[in-house]
Every structure is written in C-alpha cells, then in structure tokens.
Symmetry: C2
Subunit: 212 residues, 2 copies
C-alpha cells in the first residue's frame, strides 16, 4: 500500500516538475501513475494535500542530496553540496521553481514551511561545517543571504541557461568566500573562526556539537 502511495507521489512530482501546479489535475496524476482518481483521493484527500506532499518529498530529496559526504575542507564540502543542489535544480527544474516561486498554496502556510525547512537545513549544514554553534547576527544574515543568492542563481539559470553549470557553481563558491570575507571584516571574532575554512577538514554533524 505504501508503495502505491510512493508511485502516485512520484507521478505527481514529475508532473509538478513540468507544469505549474494549477495546470495539474488529480486525473493527470492518476493517468500518469496508471491508477484511479479514487485512489489519489484515498491517499491524499485533495489536490492541495497532493501538492504539499509532492513538494515535501521534493524537499526531502533535496535535503538527502545535501547530506555531507566528502571529507574535504569546509569550502570543498560546500562546493560539493552546491553541485548536488544544482543536480536537483536540473533534475526537477519546474519543481524547484514551483517550490520557490509559489503556486496555488498559501506560501505563509504549509508550503512556506517546507521551503523554510530546506533553508534551515542548509543553514545548519553550513554552520556545522564551520564549527559554529551560535552564529553572530553578521554571520546569520550573510549565510541566509548566500542561500538566497543560490536560489536566485538557480532560478536565473533555469530561465536563461546562458552560463555553463560548472562556471556558475564556481562563481557561487567564490561569492560565498567573498561574502564570508566581508562578514569577517565586520565581525572580528568571526574572522578568527573563518580563517582556516579553506584548510582544516570540515566538521560533521556526526562528530557531535562543535565548540562555540
């Protein structure tokens, strides 16, 4: 039974990744999954619930891809994470755009929570890699801004595709290094914490909480 639900969700996600949510009907999903309309209603209750479930599964896939895997420096790990982020952008183009640009759902409600959840996870990953437990206001706004920068660059890239992905990823990593440098110049103690980002192996969540 759970497997059937997974199949319906996969079909919905594939449709939402190619069409605006308002243009996808319950019937479309049922047809794509070779299921009945009634089965979709049985599992999801309605289109809004299906939309939320599909976005949630996309967000989960994105978060799974972002789990740190290498043993490189913090900068190297963030660069590798960025590549996996853009793999997701490329594989789920319209789904990514739908997640960030909104649709019929109330952004302040469940869908907004899904997007904020991904951002919080990214934020936590970065502070973990920097071994920072209590980010200063300057670091917090810098990391949030860089996440917005990546999202914006992802949407821009999907729209124009006039930069090669590897070149765009290098640009974003260099932007992050530059933004952290600016943050360090505005926040003395932060400068010390950031000074060996490019040298020391990155901290991992598995390694337990970092010293503050």
């Amino acid at each position: 039974m759970d497997r059937r639900r997974e199949e319906l969700m996969a079909a919905a996600l594939e449709l939402f990744s190619r069409h605006d949510a308002e243009d996808v009907s319950i019937d479309d999903v049922a047809t794509a999954a070779g299921a009945s309309r009634a089965l979709v209603y049985h599992y999801f209750g309605g289109k809004q619930e299906l939309y939320v479930a599909a976005l949630r599964s996309a967000a989960k896939e994105l978060e799974d891809r972002l789990r740190p895997v290498s043993g490189g420096t913090a900068i190297e790990e963030m660069a590798a994470g960025l590549t996996r982020y853009f793999d997701f952008v490329e594989d789920h183009a319209a789904g990514f755009a739908a997640l960030l640009r909104g649709g019929p759902a109330n952004r302040a409600g469940e869908v907004g929570e899904i997007v904020e959840g991904v951002r919080r996870r990214l934020f936590k990953m970065m502070t973990n890699q920097m071994r920072v437990t209590e980010p200063s206001p300057v670091l917090r706004t810098t990391l949030r801004s860089w996440i917005a920068t990546v999202e914006t660059a992802g949407l821009d890239w999907l729209e124009k595709r006039d930069i090669e992905r590897p070149a765009l990823e290098r640009l974003l990593v260099d932007q992050m290094v530059a933004l952290l440098g600016v943050a360090a110049s505005h926040d003395g103690p932060l400068g010390w914490a950031l000074s060996d980002l490019g040298r020391a192996p990155a901290a991992h969540e598995a390694g337990g909480p970092a010293p503050s």
Copy 2:
C-alpha cells in the same frame, strides 16, 4: 473621488503593513478610512483587488524612493539607494514582508508581477549607474543575487533587529562591492567596466542610454 480612493488605499496599506492580508477584512479598511463597506467595494471590487492595489501602491512608493537623487559615484548612489530602501522596510515593515513572503494571492499572478517589477526597476537602476546596457550573464546573476541578498537581509532584520541599520547597510554595500569583484574576476570585460565604479560620477537615466 480619486482622493477618496487614495484614502481608502492608504488605510488598507497601513492595515496590511501591520497584519497578514488574510486577517484584514473589507470592514476593517472601511472603518479605518471612515468610509462605508459599499464604497470599498465600489472602488476595488473585492478583497483580492484591494490587496493587489495596496501592494502596487507600496511598490510604487518604494520605486519612487529609489529614484537616484545624488551626484556621487555609483557605489555612493547605491549606498544612498540602500538607505532609502531600508527606510521603506522600516516604515512598512509587515507590508515589505507581505510583499516578499506572499499571502493569499497567487504569487505567480498579479502579486508576483508587482514584486518582479520592483526587482526589474532596481536591476535597471544599477545597470544604469554602471553605464551597462547589456549586462553579461555573470553580471546579471550577480545583480539579481544581490537584490535577493538585500531582500533577505531586510526580512532577517525585521525578524531579529539585532544589527543596527547603518551597520547592516554598510555590510550590504561591502557585500555588493565584493560580489562585483568576484563577477569581474569571472568576466574579463566586466572587470574593465567595473574598475572605476568607486571613482567616476554615476550615470543617470536622464543622461540617455549608456554605451554598451
């Protein structure tokens, strides 16, 4: 008659700047403006239209504030524009958040267009000040990203208010300079165009199109 419409809009904007759109009723607006419910319907047709009209007037006010006024360098003008942007963020706190975080309206529709319109205007202002008519992909994604950075910092500041506004504005200007530096290092011709941003007086729209 037009003046009455302006008063209703001002009352609506003030309410939308303090409350989520879904918590503002036509009656609230009528009461705040000392008008009848019927008059609000007469001018706006319904709550969605009132919401869109109010956001549009907020966007117009923001754009009016951003019009270049000084005769300084491009960097100085962008810094002054940023101060006026944050004046708006501070004066219309919840309105700014509502504009960017969404609400009951379909973000892909009219409200999305209003937000994108402000971003386009900001983007045009910056390329004008840089005397760039055809931004390269690297410059385009950099400027879009910086606009997202400013929006994110504005939302973060409204939420936490643990950085002084002048310090945050200096951080954002330094971030922009750093991001432009990164862009220049990825885009040779751009480096040449950007090299005197901090020295030459900024170009103005009134001065006609800039050489490409």
